[in-house]
């Protein structure tokens, strides 16, 4: 049974992995009704592998939940369903379209509209409906400056709000997840991972990711310095035109606010090489939702965003 792995020095990925597994087990042990938010994106793909490492050979002690804007890349939804079936775990789909149909939210109109902000209501409604008291998310502190200050166990009051001024001190690996009814914690096992760590881990574990993470040809149009996917019915502004480009995605989100990047990386190794050499942050390059203002993420987080 002895193997070389037993005596190899710990890598930084080993350390990050063990820390994340510890966090997931703490939540399972200390909270009544956790849920894992799974978008089909790279970070939540890593979360699923970490959950396997934390809980197998038993089932996950929580269901998975996807907040579906109804505007996702079809490759991602197909991947999501395939991965959940492989795992044999339960998936809840919380639908932004249903929130719109029920009159909980009103959709923006026009060519610049996106459903990104509407997800907050759908997410908080689903957490309340299922009485979840903890929700795992794949957010990382290296993504954005508001996230740099967020705890691993991030307390939300009964309005789902994050209050950056009164966070619970978080010492050693002793996490305080105590909540009263109606409150919950968001838990971020990947807090200390960087984008490069995530890709190196995906490569190490040979995890499947949706095909849009690799370079492919698709019709796109340029807006505000980003390349957005064009499909039938997309409204263009004056002067915008559709071209076919070879792109890949660095993040997976709502189609209408997630931009692609020109890339020729078609394998995991090529993606890792590209990320290691990149000169632009992932949110700066691909997310229109963060460009609204200097504090766009901070404002959405306070309101209950992922």
């Amino acid at each position: 049974m002895s193997s070389a792995i037993d005596h190899a020095p710990l890598t930084h990925l080993n350390a990050l992995e063990s820390e994340a597994i510890h966090i997931m087990r703490e939540v399972a042990a200390e909270l009544e009704r956790p849920v894992l938010l799974f978008s089909g994106g790279k970070d939540s793909i890593v979360l699923l592998r970490l959950a396997e490492k934390a809980f197998r050979p038993a089932r996950f002690p929580f269901p998975l939940m996807h907040v579906d804007t109804g505007d996702n890349f079809c490759e991602v939804i197909a991947f999501r369903d395939r991965r959940v079936a492989e795992l044999g775990e339960r998936l809840i789909v919380a639908s932004v379209q249903e929130s719109i149909d029920r009159g909980r939210v009103v959709e923006d109109r026009g060519p610049r509209a996106s459903r990104n902000r509407l997800q907050i209501t759908t997410l908080l409604d689903a957490i309340a409906d299922h009485r979840f008291d903890a929700a795992f998310g794949g957010a990382r502190r290296d993504e954005e400056r508001a996230r740099a200050k967020e705890r691993v166990f991030s307390f939300r009051d009964d309005f789902g709000q994050w209050d950056p001024k009164s966070q619970r001190p978080e010492l050693w690996n002793l996490y305080n997840g105590r909540v009263r009814p109606g409150e919950h914690v968001r838990v971020f096992p990947l807090s200390n991972w960087t984008e490069l760590d995530v890709w190196e881990y995906i490569a190490q574990e040979q995890l499947e990711v949706p095909s849009i993470y690799f370079a492919h040809e698709r019709p796109v149009f340029a807006r505000d310095g980003m390349l957005y996917a064009w499909r039938e019915g997309t409204e263009l502004l004056d002067g915008e035109r559709v071209e076919t480009a070879t792109v890949r995605y660095r993040t997976v989100g709502d189609m209408r606010c997630t931009g692609g990047v020109r890339s020729l990386a078609t394998t995991l190794d090529e993606v890792v090489t590209e990320i290691a050499a990149t000169r632009v942050t992932e949110r700066g390059e691909t997310r229109a939702d963060d460009r609204v203002s200097e504090a766009a993420m901070e404002d959405r987080k306070k309101a209950g965003y992922f």
């Binding site: 992995e17 063990s18 087990r25 809980f55 339960r90 009485r131 010492l171 960087t194």
Partner: protein, 438 residues
């Protein structure tokens, strides 16, 4: 607790001592600041400063509330890497809530940077920072004497400041103290060697961070400590209450109904298959039957790995129990002497009841005595204390409702540290370090 390729360090300081500039300089000179961030910083520099030069301090600019008030609210975590190591910085603001944030940032750090303004010398805050670093058991301390450009790069000034802080540190348990003269503003001795200070022959700050010896921080004789976090039993029913049921596919998945594994993260030391182990607080002796991971069985695992352990005997082991080696076991105790940092506006008094969280075990604790409060500037103990106020540090005696498996914090951080939680509002109100237990 890190792998050797990962260094966690903390920096603390006040608004004026150049901490933000130092971190900005480290990130900028190691080319970790990406183009879109640089554009933001350049724009903000133009808006906010008169000369419009690139203000590196703005790289670490945080929340809008902080920008509006010109303060930093909370610990920020930042990440960078060089070819030799990955780094996690716990960037601690230096004004009010200083102790609380400092303790939080220090609790996971391998190294602490104490920043001293060369013009001002050793201030109370420098001492407080050095003391807390020592108290939290950070093995490496780096004194960065900053703004050397404003004192004519004077060797004499540097030597005097370093002598003073070394004298203060002498009675404290810090394994290694280094001192580096820098100018964060101009970049002297941060990443690149200074041409202005030929009298300094030591490493630059980055060279030091890249090469500091972490292996020696985890000596081979650290005691084996495995707090049980979670019991893995595939045979047990999973229920999430109404409205959430398992898919049929999951029920069809074959499971080993007899499997019973104890999952946890090794807090210190090593576990090997076949080892005789002691399970506390019950005191049963058994052997390690197997060490499981998702990637297969291992015959050995060391801290900080997360693994699942199976035992040879069928014992009643649950979350909060501790697996250790019989000849070097922790004390099973319900009375603790500990140094605590009190982090609540509400004063702490004798007779107060709190929740104590220690390893994976949670119990009630009663404050039996407030032994003394530490004057952080003189390190003297003040007796006859009626209450601890916000940011006070001192020794207390606690009695707990259940036995805890305790080591002195200075020996094992993971089994020597605890937090106290106020059940009235569920806030974490204190960090504690066990000195003695019985």
């Amino acid at each position: 607790m890190s792998a050797h390729g990962l260094l966690r360090f903390t920096t603390a300081g006040s608004v004026d001592d150049g901490k933000s500039t130092l971190i900005g300089r480290l990130l900028y000179d190691t080319k970790q600041v990406l183009e879109d961030q640089l554009v933001q910083v350049a724009e903000a520099s133009r808006r906010r400063s008169s000369d419009g030069g690139l203000d590196l301090a703005l790289i670490t600019d945080g929340l809008r509330a902080e920008r509006e008030q010109g303060i930093t609210i909370d610990v920020a975590y930042r990440y960078f890497a060089t070819d030799r190591r990955r780094f996690i910085i716990a960037d601690v603001p230096g004004h009010k809530q200083y102790t609380r944030n400092m303790v939080t940032g220090a609790s996971t750090a391998d190294l602490s940077i104490v920043l001293i303004d060369a013009r001002k010398g050793v201030l109370e805050q420098s001492k407080r920072h050095a003391y807390i670093s020592a108290l939290l058991g950070i093995p490496h301390l780096v004194v960065c004497v900053n703004k050397m450009d404003l004192v004519g790069y004077s060797e004499e000034t540097f030597t005097r400041i370093v002598a003073e802080i070394r004298e203060f540190l002498a009675p404290l348990p810090v394994r290694e103290v280094s001192a580096i003269p820098i100018s964060a503003l101009n970049g002297d001795n941060v990443v690149d060697r200074s041409v202005e200070m030929p009298w300094y022959g030591g490493p630059t700050l980055l060279e030091h961070l890249e090469t500091v010896d972490l292996e020696a921080d985890h000596p081979a004789d650290t005691p084996t400590r495995f707090p049980v976090q979670w019991v893995i039993r595939p045979g047990a029913a999973v229920s999430w209450g109404d409205g959430v049921s398992l898919p049929d596919a999951a029920d069809a998945r074959p499971v080993d109904a007899d499997y019973r594994g104890y999952a946890g993260q090794l807090a210190s030391g090593v576990l090997r298959t076949g080892d005789e182990v002691l399970v506390l607080p019950g005191g049963q002796l058994t052997r390690i039957a197997a060490i499981d991971t998702y990637d297969g069985e291992r015959d050995e695992a060391s801290a900080p790995l997360s693994v699942t352990v199976r035992l040879e005997d069928d014992l009643d082991v649950s979350r909060g129990d501790l697996i250790c080696v019989p000849d070097d076991a922790p004390v099973v105790a319900r009375e603790l002497d500990a140094t605590i940092c009190w982090m609540s506006e509400r004063p702490l008094c004798v007779g107060d009841r709190l929740v104590i969280k220690h390893t994976t075990r949670t119990a009630q604790a009663i404050v039996v005595a407030l032994e003394e409060r530490v004057n952080v500037e003189t390190l003297a103990g003040e007796r006859d204390v009626v209450a601890f106020g916000l940011n006070d540090i001192g020794r207390v005696r606690l009695r707990t409702s259940a036995p805890l498996m305790c080591d002195p914090y200075r020996r094992t951080r993971a089994t020597g540290g605890f937090v106290l939680i106020d059940e009235a509002d569920n806030r974490t109100v204190a960090a504690g370090m066990i000195e003695d237990a019985r």
